[in-house]
């Protein structure tokens, strides 16, 4: 019955770059957390059009079509790292789930550095 009522309008494809942009913007709004700069490998990946285009954000889609977001950030000196990481994970997850209804598996946060600033 369900199949009978189903109307196929076509497929919607969401590019990895869109998800990366959402994650990028979500992190950018956080205070005390900054996205890491791209390194030499990121530069090379961008050159060959493999990179997400947003330094510090990588989108991985696994075999089960689940999305994994990897973000590389640096936090301001004096900030509690687990709290900051959890905040980043929550913000990215909320933003992605709100904007694109996809099966988001993990939001992995890699703290790569400590930035100058007041504690």
């Amino acid at each position: 019955m369900k199949e009978f009522n189903k109307v196929d309008l076509g497929s919607v494809k969401i590019h990895k770059k869109v998800i990366a942009e959402i994650a990028y913007n979500a992190i950018e709004e956080l205070d005390g957390i900054r996205l890491g700069k791209g390194n030499f490998l990121n530069g090379l990946a961008e050159l060959f059009n493999v990179s997400s285009g947003y330094p510090g954000v990588s989108i991985i889609i696994d075999k089960n079509n689940q999305v994994i977001v990897d973000v590389r950030v640096s936090v301001r000196y004096g900030i509690n790292i687990p709290d900051a990481a959890k905040q980043a994970q929550d913000v990215v997850r909320r933003a992605i789930e709100r904007t694109v209804d996809i099966d988001l598996k993990d939001v992995n946060v890699n703290i790569q550095g400590i930035e100058k600033g007041e504690s």
């Binding site: 000196y77 994970q89 993990d106």
Partner: protein, 203 residues
């Protein structure tokens, strides 16, 4: 340095020494050209000798591989601390923690310079901090203070209850007064001018 690495280093030093001496002798015409030509001739045309040379070449490649593995073992070791949240994994780079320690210790005026290095192992987090101190500090007190400060900073920032071991190596003592003491002395030595009312007033 383990035994394999030592043997590989010894081999490379000997091999390069041998090649270097041969090149010098050949360049200075101290080695007859005919001897070199004969040697290459034998290697090329004698099957037994050429197989030996192939064996030596393969041995060098194997040694080279082990040498490379030993040298890169440090760079390949795990350089992050990871913990899991419901939303995913959090990896904290040891370099970030080194930055954190560097900034924390740099706040102490008696410390001129600090070079921290971190290792995460089964025993917890081991921090080796090489510090340069000013001459007028009490070293046992200062090192104990630094150990406590680094340990509490790591606990506060990371929120981990993992064991943190802090080794402090004082690598240099710089003569001169510390910034804080100098500032205190300057304040005490500075003659205080009496506050004279109507000073500079000209009738």
């Amino acid at each position: 340095m383990n035994l394999m690495l030592r043997l590989a280093a010894l081999f490379y030093v000997t091999f390069l020494l041998f090649v270097g001496v041969l090149i010098i002798l050949f360049g200075l015409n101290l080695m007859p050209y005919s001897a070199v030509r004969d040697l290459f001739y034998i290697i090329y045309y004698d099957p037994q000798v050429s197989m030996t040379v192939v064996g030596i070449g393969a041995g060098i490649l194997v040694l080279n591989f082990f040498f490379w593995r030993s040298l890169t073992a440090d760079s390949l070791r795990d350089k992050t601390i990871a913990f899991d949240n419901p939303s995913g994994r959090v990896n904290v780079s040891l370099k970030a923690l080194e930055d954190l320690i560097r900034r924390e210790v740099a706040r102490v005026p008696e410390v001129k310079e600090v070079r921290p290095s971190l290792k995460a192992g089964k025993n917890g987090l081991v921090i080796d901090a090489r510090v340069v101190l000013n001459a007028d500090v009490n070293i046992p007190e200062m090192t104990s203070f630094l150990q406590d400060r680094v340990k509490s900073k790591i606990h506060d920032t990371m929120g981990v209850e993992e064991k943190v071991i802090v080794h402090i190596d004082v690598i240099k003592i710089i003569p001169g007064k510390s910034k804080s003491r100098r500032r205190n002395e300057e304040e005490t030595e500075k003659p205080r001018k009496p506050n004279v009312p109507f000073q500079g007033y000209r009738a």
